[in-house]
């Protein structure tokens, strides 16, 4: 309807207007006369009106009468239309646009003429004069608007500055050679920079220059250093964007900043043929405002999470683990769960085993916490960034855009901006999925922990700056022992070692300083806390059981540290490092992990006549979770079906083996592993007692000491040969049985801790057959020495009174520290 009548209405309105203009102001004029006068004076309006009426009638008839329609379309207008179609689209568009302009201007002029009671030609001549007369008024209005709008413009202009620094090649001296241990990432980044600098290499073959790189990985692994090296190596300007640049006080300033940043980038890209922009800590701007709130680091961007979950094992190890372990520990510590009173966290488990437990716990937690997301600060900054990174590219420049278009010329196509966007983050799961799609961030590189060569080089680099007496072998060993060391932590460790040396009044760093520094840096400083004697003994025994089973059974991982010193909420722990970087665990290895967990329970029961502390609760939890998890997903038990998959698909509580409930199968498996653990412990009674003694005496011993005790060799802190002396077992079994009777409450008499030095000194004259190295190397891991089957004997006279329970027993917490793996 509107399409049919719009021209009729327009022409009618114009005519009515001119008639009204005729009547207005003339007291004698009648509407009828005005109408008739204008019908002569403005006859063309009526002519057009008549033509339009005719056209509409023609249309209406054409719609109802096909023969009529065909006649007009095919016979009459066809030729005209063909000719018209022969004009190019663009020219046709220009012609029609010009015609519309002319018609519009003519109409405006006509109205103006009637208003000023002059002829159209006079009006045309008068127009410049009228415009000139109007200029002061127009200027006044414009000035007013400039003042009102201008203050906002100026304010936001100032607000939108800052946070962005531009470096030119000569400003930065860092090179790719300075990035150690990240060779494959460096190579890939170098490739990107190469294409940015020589785009013709790829563009001439029909490709395009990759536009975005995401560097993600744990903190301190050199992402920013890598970016700095890019800035140093490239011949293009390098724009560094502050993490906080886009968080502004006012909504909308972030958007302005993004826009002004990209305007700057385009300018630089055109002037220098390319530009690199680096967003550090990109998670601050890459999320849709979900994560900053109540979740803290524990939340997970839903979209990005699924993306990184697809990335397979990388995601399991990076994306999941922090959530798992941190969240799980936080939860248990907060809820006061009694099973949380465990000795050593999960530090004796391998990374994958811990990840599995963490995942279980994270799963529980997301049900509870998952609803709390959303409602974050949405201010469009991310969206502006997304649009700028791959939005419509509008033609550039005022002359090009406005003037050429006004003149009816086709605007020049926008130039090709070569902008390489680099982002770095340690929370890739917080980034928006849209940001990571190809075309924006084409390539994601994990900047993981440096390779061993890189770590050796980093250690050497930082050690070269100080005086030390470490051999190449020791440095190599340090690198092996610190698989998750980064440039930052290595620098820190070397510095700590120097502090330790200076504290002792030395100028030169020794191997001992390095080890001490590592313990402080890896596991923190011990609290100034003394366990009461009885508890000290039970904790030491507990840890010794873990250590012995781990030492005898584990492959590919070595004990890093065993301690019974309290650190924060942790009573004691045995820590391990992996010496090889592996992706998958075997079923047998999982079983060993479970056995290491169960060692504490088996040991406590063995040595305390069937009694055990609640400190084993955490170990049992880990063991149960591991068994349940791998039984339901990796055929660790008797069945093959993946119970996990069925639960995930909500297929109900299907019983795989109707005769044996799942819980019973878990229990049976745990029981089986428990019995195997008992065998190992029984075979290593002497080693357990030796380790217990060493732990009680030294509180903290290194992995090398553990090895020395187990093998009867000389270690850095402890001389393991002394524990091979025949009277050790007699003395210490006596001490232990006294502790057991004290535990049962049969005796309140305190007994002093047996000083081994005295026992050893007494027997020093006698040759020690067990100190022969050859004998102990052939014992192997699994076999054990089998020396420790003697029963407890009464204590001899070397022991004195032991002060009983001078302090209330404090609950032994557990520790949430991630242990080294690779």
């Amino acid at each position: 309807m509107w399409d049919r009548s719009k021209f009729l209405l327009l022409l009618g309105a114009v005519f009515l207007f001119v008639v009204a203009a005729e009547v207005s102001g003339d007291p004698l004029m009648t509407w009828g006369d005005a109408f008739r006068i204008q019908a002569r004076k403005s006859a063309w309006v009526l002519v057009l009106l008549g033509l339009e009426v005719l056209r509409q009638v023609h249309m209406v008839v054409g719609e109802r009468w096909s023969a009529y329609y065909v006649f007009w379309t095919d016979r009459v207008f066809a030729r005209v239309e063909r000719r018209f179609l022969r004009i190019k689209d663009w020219n046709r568009f220009r012609l029609s646009r010009a015609a519309k302009w002319v018609a519009g201007l003519a109409l405006a002029l006509f109205v103006y003429a009637r208003l000023s009671h002059t002829s159209v030609f006079d009006a045309l001549v008068n127009v410049p004069g009228a415009v000139w007369d109007a200029i002061p008024v127009v200027l006044q209005i414009v000035l007013l608007m400039v003042l009102v709008v201008g203050q906002f413009v100026v304010m936001f202009w100032f607000l939108s500055k800052g946070g962005v620094e531009t470096y030119f090649p000569e400003d930065i001296t860092t090179r790719f050679a300075d990035v150690w241990g990240q060779d494959h990432v460096v190579n890939r980044v170098r490739e990107n920079v190469f294409y940015l600098e020589r785009p013709e290499e790829i563009e001439s073959r029909g490709g395009h220059v990759p536009g975005g790189i995401l560097l993600w990985g744990p903190p301190g692994t050199g992402k920013t250093l890598l970016a700095e090296a890019v800035a140093g190596e490239t011949g293009k300007p390098f724009v560094f964007v502050d993490p906080g640049a886009f968080s502004a006080m006012f909504v909308g300033v972030g958007i302005l900043k993004v826009k002004s940043l990209f305007r700057k980038l385009r300018k630089l890209a055109l002037r220098y043929g390319g530009v690199i922009v680096f967003f550090d800590e990109a998670d601050t701007l890459g999320s849709r405002g979900q994560l900053g709130g109540s979740f803290g680091g524990g939340g997970v961007g839903t979209g990005a999470r699924s993306y990184f979950a697809r990335q397979g094992p990388l995601a399991t190890r990076h994306g999941e683990r922090p959530i798992g372990t941190a969240a799980a520990f936080g939860r248990r510590a907060g809820s006061g769960d009694p099973s949380g009173q465990m000795c050593n966290g999960l530090s004796y488990l391998s990374a994958a085993a811990r990840a599995e437990i963490g995942r279980e716990q994270a799963r529980e937690q997301f049900v509870v916490g998952g609803g709390g997301g959303g409602g974050g600060g949405f201010d469009g900054t991310l969206q502006a960034l997304l649009t700028e990174m791959s939005g419509l590219k509008k033609p550039r420049g005022f002359l090009n855009r406005i003037v050429r278009r006004t003149l009816g010329m086709r605007p020049k196509p926008p130039p090709k901006y070569r902008i390489l966007v680099m982002m770095a983050t340690n929370m890739p799961q917080a980034l928006d999925e849209a940001l990571l799609r190809p075309g924006r961030i084409d390539r994601q590189y994990k900047v993981g922990y440096p390779s061993k060569e890189g770590r050796v080089r980093t250690f050497e680099g930082y050690l070269a700056k100080v005086r030390h007496e470490l051999t190449g072998e020791q440095v190599d060993r340090l690198a092996v022992m610190s698989p998750e060391a980064t440039g930052a932590t290595i620098k820190d460790t070397v510095n700590e070692a120097l502090v330790q040396a200076v504290k002792d009044g030395r100028e030169v760093i020794t191997w001992q300083d390095m080890l001490r520094a590592r313990v402080i840096k890896e596991y923190g400083l011990a609290d100034d806390h003394e366990h009461i004697d009885r508890e000290r003994h039970s904790i030491a025994l507990h840890e010794a059981c873990h250590a012995v089973v781990a030492y005898r059974m584990q492959r590919g991982r070595v004990i890093d540290l065993a301690t019974i010193e309290r650190r924060g909420g942790v009573g004691g722990f045995v820590a391990h490092v992996a010496v090889e970087d592996r992706m998958f665990m075997w079923k047998s290895e999982i079983e060993i992990q479970v056995m290491v967990s169960l060692a504490s329970l088996a040991g406590e029961r063995m040595f305390f006549e069937g009694d055990n502390t609640v400190g084993v609760g955490g170990d049992l939890r880990s063991a149960t979770m591991l068994v349940a998890g791998y039984m339901s997903s990796a055929a660790m038990g008797d069945t093959l079906a993946s119970r996990l998959a069925m639960l995930e698909q909500q297929m109900g509580n299907l019983s795989l083996d109707a005769d044996r409930p799942f819980g019973e199968q878990i229990e049976a498996k745990l029981r089986e592993l428990y019995e195997r653990t008992e065998v190992v412990l029984r075979e290593n009674r002497r080693e357990i007692l030796a380790l217990t003694h060493a732990l009680e005496e030294h509180k903290t011993i290194t992995g090398e000491d553990v090895e020395a005790i187990m093998e009867g060799t000389d270690g850095p802190t402890v001389d393991g040969r002394r524990y091979r002396e025949p009277d050790f077992l007699t003395v210490f079994e006596g001490y232990h049985s006294h502790a057991v009777s004290a535990h049962r409450g049969q005796t309140r008499e305190a007994r002093p801790f047996p000083e081994l030095g005295r026992a050893a000194a007494r027997n020093r004259a006698e040759p020690d057959p067990s100190a022969e190295p050859g004998r102990h190397t052939e014992t192997g891991h699994r076999g054990g020495s089998g020396l420790s089957t003697e029963s407890a004997r009464p204590a001899d006279g070397t022991v004195g009174a032991v002060s009983a329970g001078t302090r209330p027993a404090e609950s032994v917490g557990k520790r949430g520290r991630s242990e080294a793996n690779a």
Binding site: L28, R36, A39, L46
Partner: protein, 243 residues
């Protein structure tokens, strides 16, 4: 689907509406074919309006204010000022408009002019309502002469008077516009002429509005009604632009 949408409901409603519009447009077109009943002589700037029968003709006369002025002494600005001070439109009911014969005594069709004049300060000070009567010819003198003639020759002078005042009324219009309306018959060599004169001043006595129509007495006998109609339509709406 597409076609049904266009052929059903909305179309049935739209067709009568279009017809209504088309009909309106046709009526509009047809109405435009007739002639207006009057011609309108307007000076919106000074607020003078006049309506003459459609068969009459009128034309704006350039430069009446320049009579008797040596054009060589006039600068362009002065010329502009003089031109804007006086507006005169000639009116001719004859077949052809003839600007040179607007005040001829033997016109067989009504002729005349309408005039708006911005008075000079000295003119404004000097002018009085009484003076308005004597702008075309000295009416009072002619009246006195006629009375004199009647006294000398009561019958002859009455039978063929040289001057006969037919209407003499004082006019008061809105916004303080005031003046006189006179209709009189004058004997000339070419015969009897009837003149319809309306002379008005605005309230500030700075503007003079004048409408003079004249034709032979025979013509007046025929067209008197039309002339009176035109004189009655003479409307002044002062625009206050000089105050």
């Amino acid at each position: 689907m597409e076609s049904r949408r266009w052929t059903s409901g909305p179309r049935r409603r739209s067709v009568p509406a279009v017809f209504l519009l088309v009909t309106a447009a046709v009526v509009l077109l047809a109405g435009g074919c007739g002639s207006p009943s009057y011609q309108y002589v307007t000076n919106k700037k000074d607020g003078a309006y006049l309506r003459v029968p459609n068969s009459w003709d009128h034309q704006e006369m350039p430069g009446p204010a320049l009579f008797g002025i040596d054009a060589r002494n006039v600068s362009p600005e002065m010329l502009q000022g003089l031109m804007s001070r006086e507006w005169v439109v000639g009116i001719d009911a004859g077949a052809r408009f003839d600007a040179t014969r607007l005040l001829v005594p033997d016109a067989v069709q009504p002729k005349g002019f309408v005039q708006v004049r911005h008075l000079l300060p000295e003119e404004a000070n000097a002018v009085s309502t009484n003076d308005l009567r004597n702008f075309v010819l000295s009416v009072d003198d002619a009246q006195a002469a006629q009375e004199q003639a009647v006294r000398q020759d009561p019958y002859g002078a009455r039978l063929s008077p040289s001057f006969l005042l037919l209407t003499d009324e004082v006019v008061h219009k809105k916004a303080g516009v005031h003046g006189v309306h006179l209709v009189y018959q004058v004997k000339t060599d070419a015969g009897l002429v009837t003149i319809d004169q309306t002379s008005l001043l605005d309230s500030g006595q700075t503007m003079l509005y004048q409408l003079i129509l004249a034709c032979s007495s025979l013509c007046y006998a025929q067209h008197g009604a039309q002339i009176s109609d035109v004189a009655r339509s003479f409307t002044i709406e002062p625009t206050d632009q000089d105050q």
